[in-house]
Amino acid sequence: MLNSIPVLLSPILAELEVGKHLYWELGGMKLHGQVFITTWLVMGALIVVSLFATRKVERIPSGIQNLMEYALEFIRDLAKNQIGEKEYRPWVPYIGTLFLFIFVSNWGGALVPWKLIHLPAGELAAPTNDINTTVALALLTSLAYFYAGFRKRGIGYFAKYIEPTPVMLPINILEDFTKPLSLSFRLFGNILADELVVAVLVLLVPLFVPLPVMLLGLFTSAIQALVFATLSAAYIAEAMEGHGAEEHG
């Protein structure tokens, strides 16, 4: 979202701002400052929780260590299901980082009352409701599956472009572009749509009525984090195995 008209539905009750950003100038580039602030906060929260969980590792886990072990097991199972028993281990950190970052940003954007903090322009929200964040994550996934394919199959990776027949060449090349496109648009659209729906409902009825929609938003944002991580793992697995493996939308 570039420069655009802000939509101020009602300045008193609820302000709905799309496409307004807090711009930082850095070497002739314009950065969306509010996204950076929330991204750093999410990263900081994740790092602090991980440090606390691993500071005093015990044989019988309790408290925060228990939680993080549960999260790790969940991510490991996810990667194992998609990539397979033999190859999954090196990809657990990548899949886990994607899942935890997206999950914590989505829930942080929905649960923390960011709107109470006023910025000179724009407003704080989940980092994933900015298209730049999701495109960056999706391109990382593209790089990851190219790397996985080359690592595993060498130059023979390109053979997948003419499988099953050379007629499929344009479609196979197109697939490399539609994968990051659909990944990024799916995440961005879902998060932004959630926030817009909640904002419009808050505008209409400020009390209680938006609560079920907010709960639905929490549910879909958790599912979206899961979908992003699952799809990344599926793409990596497909690049390593070649075509004929199971495919996902």
Binding site: L2, S4, V18, F185, G189, N190, L196, T220, L226, G249
Partner: protein, 81 residues
Amino acid sequence: MDPMIASASVIAAALAVGLAAIGPGIGQGNASGQAVAGIARQPEAEGKIRGTLLLTLAFMESLTIYGLVVSLVLLFANPFS
């Protein structure tokens, strides 16, 4: 913004999200119906079916979301204004 472009954009935005909801709606209905039939036939597989169904629904949902992204671009980041 030129009123002609504004009105055309608003109509196009409504059509984009409305038409994009038809296909996924039918698909989600089909998938959920089949899932319910599967659970009725084999109640012990409910957990697995539910997990797969939720993931599949999210994939179908994303098609509507693409329409929504197009309509949001038309409304908030219109390239022709």
